[in-house]
């Protein structure tokens, strides 16, 4: 019965535990590295797309000489009239470089306290503190808060106005850590104050966000805008999504290609390791042959042995990677993929099990693993029993 077979399988596995342990360890480390890398990329990708989903379908900017310039309210009202557009919102945002902090800039975003149709993202970002915000208060990201604190701006910060002079703002709170990926260097301040710092005239915007609920109307609306206004640029969310997708696909692809080379090395090591099995293993085969085991029986035993070792190593490496990335937020490795910005990104990886990725990695590992041992195992199983027992 199968019971005795598996009993015996466990016995032989245990018997050769030192031989298997080294294989197991090497394989598990390999899987760990690969899986962690792909988890990190996958997780970042997922978060990016979640963020992107919150963005408006189109962003319209005015251009002059090919460069974006401030947009006035007339355009905003005109865009509102286009059929199919449900919400139009002027946005104020831009780069602010503090002369004190070298090489460090902030992303200033103006928020209109009286604007009911705040972007979905901003509303989420500021869910708690937004209502209480007064005109000389602002919210910052955790990384910005930390940077300011290190420079003795504990509770307030001094801006240099575009037109000259300074402006004092109170730091009222920090935004959620979940948005670190997209808003790591962000400062949220009332729209009018943001205009003062960025140098936008009263009543103008950096750009205009359009929301279009019906997917089928997207192309028509885009065409309408482009044909009506020669001097505007329409930024399409779908294009952005495609660009992000490419970026992440390339990241995992390059990582995987590098890994393939390592895998090849591992397979070679495995081949030589299994080719130079100890004479005790040969003796074992000889004894089993004399007891009436067929070559098929032996191949089955060895096949299960390989599958067990490979699968256990895979599971070990995979689970370790899962814990490392989602439990410990991938120290070191996360850096490589997040990149070193000016401010360190403190990112929280959300656990996500993707059965597709699991199956992909398992196949990528187990097929070369089995392939590496096929010939050595066969050579072992067909040796004459008489020779083996000497």
């Amino acid at each position: 019965m199968a019971g005795s077979f598996f009993h015996f399988l466990l016995l032989t596995l245990y018997k050769n535990r030192f031989f298997h342990a080294t294989t197991l360890l090497m394989a598990a480390v390999l899987i760990f590295l690969l899986a962690s890398g792909l988890f990190v990329v996958g997780s970042l990708q997922k978060q990016t797309f979640l963020n992107l989903a919150q963005q408006p379908e189109f962003v319209v900017r005015k251009l002059r000489g090919g460069r974006p310039v401030a947009t006035d309210e007339q355009l905003l009202y005109a865009l509102q009239e286009i059929r199919g557009v449900t919400a139009v919102r002027g946005r104020v945002h831009g780069r602010y470089d503090d002369p004190v902090f070298e090489d460090t800039g902030f992303e200033l975003v103006g928020i209109d306290i009286f604007e009911p149709s705040l972007t979905r993202t901003l509303r989420k970002l500021t869910a708690r503190e937004f209502e209480k915000l007064s005109p000389d208060q602002m919210l910052v990201s955790p990384a910005v808060k930390e940077l300011l604190r290190q420079n003795y701006y504990e509770s307030e910060y001094l801006f240099h106005r575009y037109e000259g002079g300074t402006m004092r703002m109170e730091i009222a709170g920090v935004i959620d850590r979940d948005y670190a990926l997209q808003a790591n260097d962000v400062m949220l301040l009332p729209m009018e104050k943001a205009r003062e710092v960025l140098g936008l005239p009263y009543g103008t915007f950096t750009d205009i966000a359009l929301e279009v609920p019906n997917e089928l109307e997207l192309d028509t609306i885009k065409q309408t805008i482009l044909s009506r206004y020669a001097n505007v640029e329409v930024i399409d969310k779908r294009k952005m999504a495609a660009r992000y997708q490419t970026m992440y696909d390339m990241k995992s692809g390059v990582f995987l290609s590098l890994f393939t080379v390592v895998l090849l090395g591992f397979v070679l090591i495995l081949y030589f390791k299994y080719s130079h099995v100890l004479s005790s293993a040969k003796r074992e085969i000889g004894i089993l042959r004399s007891l009436g085991w067929s070559i098929n029986d032996l191949l089955r035993l060895k096949g299960f042995e390989t599958l067990c070792v490979g699968s256990v190593a895979f599971m070990g490496g995979f689970i370790a990677a899962f814990i490392y990335v989602y439990g410990a937020d991938a120290p070191l490795l996360g850096r490589i993929f997040l990149g070193y910005g000016e401010l360190p990104v403190d990112y929280d990886f959300k656990p996500f099990f993707d059965p597709g990725l699991f199956a992909q990695l398992y196949l990528l590992f187990i097929i070369p693993f089995s392939a590496a041992v096929i010939v050595p195992v066969w050579r072992l199983c067909i040796i004459g029993a008489k020779e083996a027992m000497k």
């Binding site: 019965m1 016995l11 074992e284 004399s290 009436g292 067929s294």
Partner: protein, 220 residues
């Protein structure tokens, strides 16, 4: 029971060719006990492995219970060996770091029996070889005589008709060798066909030996 017809075995090819067995004919009836006598290197082990289908003949054939074991594919050869032949070796060839019970499990696995029958077969063989009290002892911790009895139990566990022994007493002291011959006698009493390859003169004097065949440079 065992019929060997015109059996030859060469190793190597061309000028390197070495003849180990030459046109051997032998017939052993059921229940017979035959001693195969010869000096070291005369081809005894080779003949035994050919009989068990562990090696393939260069010429001729071997029949066990009427089946041409030397002409069968490996799967069937192994099945024949598993059902009909029990091996006892000079070096015991036990799995040293497994228990007696686990050693006896090995020959039963290709038969894919239900657990109950496996246990019954193991118990029966342990009783017959008089080693039941050491069932769960690891083989490494057994004495030479106990190892030999364990090897006998393993050879018996599939209840084969034929027992092939290759130098069974070479590693045993006098007392254990005597004990072993007594067990062989019991096996003969149970109707087993015995073939003992040895150069030990001890076997020539035994009463239950029906025939002594001498092998010399691959010829009988």
């Amino acid at each position: 029971m065992i019929r060997v017809e015109n059996l030859s075995k060469y190793y190597g090819q061309g000028r390197e060719r070495k003849t180990v067995l030459q046109a051997i004919g032998l017939h052993i009836a059921q229940g017979e006990c035959v001693v195969l006598k010869g000096v070291s290197g005369s081809g005894k082990s080779t003949l035994l492995s050919l009989m068990a289908g562990l090696e393939k003949p260069s010429e001729g054939a071997v029949y066990i219970a009427g089946e041409p074991i030397s002409k069968l594919p490996d799967l069937h050869q192994s099945k024949q060996r598993n059902r009909h032949i029990g091996f006892i070796f000079q070096a015991y060839n036990l799995f040293e770091d497994m228990s007696v019970y686990e050693n006896l499990l090995a020959p039963l696995i290709p038969r894919k029996l239900p657990v109950k029958e496996v246990d019954r077969a193991v118990s029966k063989a342990l009783e017959a070889a008089n080693i039941a009290h050491k069932k769960h002892t690891v083989v490494r911790n057994l004495s030479g005589g106990e190892k030999q009895r364990c090897a006998i139990a393993r050879a018996l566990v599939n209840d084969p008709e034929v027992i092939l022994c290759d130098e069974p007493t070479a590693n045993l002291d006098k007392d254990n060798a005597a004990l072993f011959t007594r067990q062989l006698q019991q096996l003969k009493g149970a109707g087993k066909t015995l073939l003992i390859a040895t150069h030990d003169p001890l076997f020539e004097t035994l009463s239950f030996v029906d025939r002594v065949v001498t092998i010399e440079q691959g010829r009988i």
